[in-house]
């Protein structure tokens, strides 16, 4: 793992950790903020609820007290009348009647005499009342045996207390099940004795309505209890006047929750309390109604008070959770991307590596060691593929079989790996087929049929196959849609080519073969369109004219190649290479071959060789004779010195005809023998001093322009060059 990879991994790990920290910090901050907000809001809402409950309680209490006061005032204002009427008890009924008449809220009234106060009426209590829905005031007597008003609370209590008294609420059975309460005051006679009790009954129907309508919150409810704990007003009507709070609590099975509240309310305190029963929390605000000893309460379920804020809170928490989730999600995908990116980087490296291997394999398929045939002097070849991507679809190939150079160049449509695979297939097909076919057209036809039959991807290959007979210089060739090669003879010209289809396009296509004979020192330059279509940054193409310009005077193939590559490089500049660029340069020198056996008589054959060369090259006979002499001397040397007498052996003589020189290469498999190292004759000496040997090599040196000896692969190689 490289340093960068480590950095990447660490970065990912750190960014993951940093991301997690970020999420946690964000979550904590958000939650803390919400919590604080929630606490403050809750406090505010509680205060608001308290304020609302208290003001409702106060308002309701004032309404009640208003009625209470009216009643009390009405009664107190009538006390003097009652006192006055004591003297004539029969007139007491008029007092009651007047009270009922003048006070609509008072439904009944009586003046009940203290027993024994009046001799005539030991018990006397005329009761004036108004039945519900009636205007008429009826009178009845409460001084009955079964009722015994003296034992009634409304009678006994004021006398006992010596002041006005509000009775416990009660259901008026006679008057149509109306909830009633009675205010009663003692009436003193002129002597200050307790003489009677003056009462006023008021209906509490309005109270039920009033208290029942106290709605601080939609789900809130109100209750009113009497001083003894009787439930006066309550949403559960079945409990009204039938149970005390204590009893109701017992019914609910939870006395503990209501105990304190009950005590506080009965003690006439005001305040608030939270009670919990059956998993619900209820806020109870309570206040006493002075004078009557009642206690009023407003019950607000916890959910009612905090419902909205809790809903909002839940929403906020939900939104925050969503936000955090999104944050987590974003971070996750970021980190995953980071990991993927790193992964991708790793994979890219692997792929790059594999592409390198693919390239190596691809390059190993084509001959790429130059000079490719170092032992041959009749060919000077260079070829190169400059792939645009890592691997390309261009190809070339060549090899020698039976003294024929079989060569090809091709360009697979497309680029990259697919093209390179097709290239590999094309190349092996070429090798296989050309190995036993001697006709370029036949080779191309067979390759085309093989490719077109299975060409599912519509890839095609422009292809040129040539077979150069190294003995004659004849080239038979077939062009399958490839660029016309450039002939470099005395001038530069495009090789005429038939308009054949590229390989893989149409199965069964008949490819036409052509033929040309090149002379000594002629060359053929093959290329793919990567050369002519090399683009510079202004999208101009290198073009054929530039190519022809660069291809020029006779040079060694490598020099040609370098010159073209340099020209392309200069032209293209910094623009990326747009296509594979492949070039194949074949420089041909016709070769005449002669094999001599290890017999001195064989050297006579050299004359025939030289005669042939002389006439072919139209050489001066004198030169032919000199060259003959030099060759004969060189050959004789080999036969006489390299091979022991009477051993079989051969001397190969190759004559290469270049435009401006003749090159003779003598190769033998004898013992190492360097004729150039032999002593040379001194031609200045006189007859007596003149040695008999050394003349041969002397002649060779004198006739030839260059004489070089080398030994390779167990062979002596003597190269003689003569400029012509």
């Amino acid at each position: 793992m490289k340093f960068r990879d480590v950095i990447d991994k660490v970065f990912v790990r750190q960014s993951a950790r940093a991301g997690l920290m970020l999420v946690i910090v964000a979550a904590v901050t958000l939650e803390a903020t919400s919590l604080i907000q929630y606490i403050f809001s809750q406090k505010g809402i509680r205060e608001e609820a308290t304020r609302r409950a208290e003001s409702q309680l106060e308002a309701t209490k004032l309404k009640i007290l208003n009625i209470v006061d009216q009643t009390e005032t009405a009664i107190h204002n009538s006390v003097w009348l009652a006192q006055w009427a004591l003297a004539v008890p029969d007139s007491l009924v008029a007092v009651s009647r007047r009270i009922v008449e003048t006070n609509p809220i008072i439904v009944g009234s009586t003046v009940a005499l203290v027993p024994g106060y009046d001799k005539k009426h030991p018990l006397y209590s005329p009761y004036c009342f108004r039945s519900p829905g009636e205007e008429k005031i009826r009178v009845s007597s409460l001084a009955t045996e079964e009722y015994d008003y003296t034992s009634q609370e409304w009678f006994a209590k004021p006398l006992e207390l010596g002041k006005g008294y509000w009775s416990e609420p009660y259901i008026d059975v006679g008057g149509g099940d109306i909830l009633m309460t009675t205010y009663s005051v003692p009436v003193l006679d002129a002597k200050g004795r307790q003489a009677a009790v003056l009462t006023a009954d008021i209906s509490l129907d309005w109270l039920t309505e009033l208290v029942g309508n106290v709605k601080v919150y939609p789900e809130a409810f109100s209750m009113m209890i009497s001083r003894s704990g009787q439930i006066m007003v309550c949403p559960a009507e079945s409990l009204v006047m039938r149970a005390t709070v204590q009893q109701a609590a017992e019914n609910l099975g939870d006395t503990a929750a209501f105990g304190d509240l009950n005590r506080s309310m009965l003690a006439g305190q005001s305040g608030s309390q939270i009670i919990r029963y059956r998993k619900t929390t209820t806020h109870v605000f309570f206040a006493p109604v002075e004078k009557t000893g009642w206690s009023m309460s407003v019950m607000i379920p916890d959910s009612e008070i905090y419902g909205s804020i809790r809903r909002v809170g839940r929403l906020v928490v939900l939104l925050q959770l969503l936000g955090i989730l999104m944050l987590v999600f974003i971070l996750r995908s970021f980190i995953i991307n980071q990991i993927r990116y790193n992964d991708l980087n790793d994979r890219k490296k692997v792929m790059e590596n594999e592409l390198h291997i693919a390239r190596d394999i691809q390059m190993a398929m084509i001959p790429k060691i130059f000079p490719p045939f170092p032992e041959r002097s009749d060919l000077d070849m260079t070829a190169e593929i400059v792939p645009a991507k890592e691997v390309g679809g261009d190809l070339y190939d060549f090899y020698i079989r039976d003294e024929k150079l079989i060569f090809c160049i091709g360009d697979v449509s497309g680029k990259g790996i697919p093209a390179s695979l097709v290239m590999a297939v094309t190349r092996s097909m070429f090798r296989t087929i050309s190995n036993h076919e001697n006709s370029p057209a036949k080779i191309v036809t067979l390759m085309n049929d093989a490719m077109a039959d299975v060409n599912e991807n519509s890839m095609f290959v422009t292809f040129f196959v040539g077979i150069l007979d190294l003995n004659t210089g004849q080239i038979r060739y077939c062009n399958a849609g490839h660029n016309s090669p450039v002939m470099l003879t005395d001038s530069k010209w495009p090789l005429p080519v038939e308009a054949n289809l590229p390989l893989g396009v149409l199965s069964g296509f008949k490819y036409k073969e052509q033929e040309i004979t090149i002379g000594d020192d002629d060359a053929i330059f093959l290329y793919t369109d990567g050369l002519t279509e090399a683009e510079n940054s202004s999208h101009e193409l290198f073009g054929e004219s530039r190519m022809y310009e660069v291809l020029g005077t006779r040079r060694r193939s490598e020099e040609h190649m370098e010159a073209i590559k340099a020209a392309v490089r200069e032209f293209v500049g910094k623009a990326p290479q747009s296509d594979d660029l492949t070039m194949l340069f074949i420089h041909y020198f016709r070769r005449v071959h002669l094999t001599l056996e290890n017999d001195i008589k064989e050297v006579a054959k050299i004359a025939g060789l030289m005669e042939q060369i002389g006439s072919e090259r139209n050489l001066d006979p004198g030169l032919v004779s000199s060259l003959n002499l030099a060759l004969e001397e060189a050959a004789s040397n080999v036969i006489m010195y390299a091979y022991p007498k009477d051993t079989a052996g051969a001397l190969e003589i190759d004559a290469f005809m270049r435009k401006d020189s003749l090159e003779f290469v003598l190769t033998d498999g004898g013992k190492p023998f360097d004729p150039t190292a032999a002593p040379e004759a001194d031609v200045t000496l006189g007859v007596e001093e003149r040695g008999i040997g050394g003349l041969g090599i002397f002649l060779v040196r004198n006739i030839m322009d260059s004489v070089t000896y080398s030994r390779a692969d167990g062979k002596n190689i003597l190269k003689l060059i003569k400029k012509v």
Binding site: V603, G622, E688, L695, G696, L699
Partner: protein, 101 residues
């Protein structure tokens, strides 16, 4: 390669016809051995029909020349063609032999 040897008035005339290349030189060398043994007189090497000479041929000439020099004779090379004259020039033989047309 043909070699004719004729002797007349103490002058030995050797007429070469054809190419005196290395294989031929071996035969010619044998044939001329008697001439070298008796080289006190004048030896004319008639090269009118000699087309070619190799270094081994030159060695035959030189052998004769050396023999003549040691025996007091002389060697005349007659009618060499241009090609052979070139070789003679190259090898310094022009200075060693008396050349006649």
């Amino acid at each position: 390669m043909e070699v004719f040897i004729s002797k007349k008035d103490g002058v030995t005339t050797v007429t070469f016809e054809g190419r005196l290349d290395t294989p031929a030189s071996a035969e010619v060398s044998e044939k001329l051995a008697p001439v070298a043994e008796d080289a006190s007189g004048t030896i004319i090497l008639d090269c009118k029909k000699l087309e070619y000479i190799s270094s081994s041929g030159l060695r035959i000439f030189l052998t004769l020349r050396k023999a003549a020099a040691s025996q007091g004779g002389k060697v005349i090379v007659r009618s060499i063609c241009q090609d052979i004259r070139t070789v003679f020039m190259m090898t310094g033989f022009l200075n060693l032999f008396q050349i006649e047309d």
